[in-house]
């Protein structure tokens, strides 16, 4: 049987853990509110951008811009860049594990294709680095203060990999924020830009361009990639805080339970010790 002192010590240590988890939970909750606001207000722009670009991509010739160029990504020896968006920090339940798992599945399911990684977030980087995967570039440490320029840096790197021909396609895996309770891992193709086939009568009309289409595309297409990356970063950021808050809430509850159990046990031990002492005293008295 453990001694009273040991039990007290354990209770104290669980209590201080509980204080930490509680504090993290509260911080995550307040950061979540801000992150949620940001992703919700950024979505309309990203959605419209996607729509406009989709409209455009099926009208113009793929040769009009290097990023529209379709390459055969199924051919043997084709290379794919996978952008993995994980978090910089842990203490967030299965957030990073899920992203990493999805990325690993993508690599396993890619058949003969060679996959290189673009890593965003310290956790994902640590994981894939340690296991010796081929890494094209990495960006870490900006989730504290996430800005559009970070998305720009990431997308520039990805675009460069694509235009120089080092990779034939670029995919993105990240955690989409749907609500505080529900997040979803999303894998989607970033480059080459997906083209829908022309359907219906409206598609037959080409746009008027002002200025020339080449100029607009040169501006619009990279911007589109930036915006999609920006959305992925904001989504991940909001999801991270949501998951962290839930995980820390559970942890706080669990530690309360452990404290209760330990306290009960400690009381039993104390009672047993008292009883034993009384017996000793009584039997000592009887022996006189």
């Amino acid at each position: 049987m453990p001694s009273l002192i040991d039990l007290r010590r354990r209770i104290r240590s669980v209590k201080s853990t509980q204080q930490i988890t509680k504090a993290i939970k509260m911080v995550a909750a307040s950061k979540l509110r801000r992150a949620q606001e940001r992703i919700l207000s950024a979505r309309p722009f990203a959605d419209q951008m996607e729509r406009v670009l989709g409209n455009l991509a099926r009208r113009v010739d793929p040769s009009a811009h290097p990023l529209l160029e379709a390459r055969d990504e199924r051919r043997p020896g084709a290379r794919t860049l996978l952008l993995v968006v994980s978090a910089d920090k842990g203490l967030c339940g299965s957030f990073n594990t899920n992203v990493i798992k999805a990325a690993a599945n993508f690599i396993l399911g890619s058949g003969g294709r060679e996959v290189v990684l673009g890593l965003v977030g310290r956790r994902g980087r640590d994981y894939f680095r340690r296991r010796g995967f081929e890494v094209a570039f990495e960006h870490t440490g900006f989730f504290q203060q996430l800005s559009y320029n970070d998305a720009r840096a990431v997308s520039r790197a990805a675009i460069e990999e694509f235009t120089t021909g080092r990779v034939d396609s670029v995919y993105l895996v990240y955690t989409e924020f749907r609500s505080v309770m529900s997040q979803r891992i999303v894998t989607k193709r970033l480059l080459p830009i997906p083209r829908e086939e022309i359907t219906g009568a409206d598609a037959a009309v080409d746009y008027l361009y002002e200025p020339a289409p080449e100029q607009i595309l040169a501006d619009l297409v990279p911007r589109h990639i930036e915006v999609q990356v920006y959305r992925a970063l904001l989504d991940s950021n909001a999801s991270f805080f949501a998951v962290q808050m839930t995980a820390m809430d559970t942890a706080t509850k669990n530690s309360a339970e452990v404290i209760d159990q330990l306290t009960l046990y400690m009381n039993k031990v104390r009672q047993a010790a008292i009883t034993r002492e009384i017996i000793e005293v009584v039997s000592g008295a009887q022996a006189l």
């Binding site: 207000s41 950024a42 309309p44 722009f45 419209q48 951008m49 729509r51 406009v52 409209n55 455009l56 559009y148 009309v205 080409d206 746009y207 008027l208 361009y209 002002e210 200025p211 289409p213 100029q215 607009i216 501006d219 619009l220 911007r223 915006v227 920006y230």
Partner: protein, 140 residues
């Protein structure tokens, strides 16, 4: 093809959705000049300039300052993807005035390595903001 009665106007920036409304007419500061858009306009894709945008709903006109980005026009909708956009009543007149002063000073005394284009755009932005803001004051 029937001409639609209204235009659905959406103005979005990376930070927020600014306007989503049914309107009768829009004037856009395109890169090669101002464009008036009425319902039934032929599909058009244009880049935006630093400038003033207005839209009309019935007899009421609303002004915005807008800078950089793209406009997509369809017969029944206009979508503006702007880098910067502000409603007239949101503009900080004091700040825009200070920015104008700064830009004018820099253009008046050019340094050797000065970025002329940047100073010019800064001046333009502040002027547009001031102009749009003055329209809001006249109305209210």
């Amino acid at each position: 093809m029937a001409i639609p009665a209204h235009l659905t106007l959406e103005i979005v920036t990376p930070e927020r959705l600014l306007v989503r409304d049914e309107v009768d007419e829009v004037e856009i500061p395109g890169a090669e000049g101002y464009l008036g858009v009425l319902p039934g306009h032929t599909p058009l894709l244009a880049t935006l300039q630093v400038g003033e945008l207005w839209y009309r709903k019935g007899a009421e006109r609303t002004y915005l300052s807008i800078a950089f980005g793209f406009a997509e026009v369809q017969p029944d909708r206009v979508t503006l993807l702007a880098q910067i956009a502000e409603k007239a009543e949101e503009i900080d007149v004091v700040r825009a005035g200070a920015a104008r002063q700064r830009a004018e000073d820099r253009l008046a005394r050019p340094a050797v390595d000065m970025d002329f284009e940047r100073a010019r755009i800064a001046l333009l932005k502040s002027l547009v903001r001031l102009q749009v803001a003055s329209r809001a004051r006249i109305r209210s």
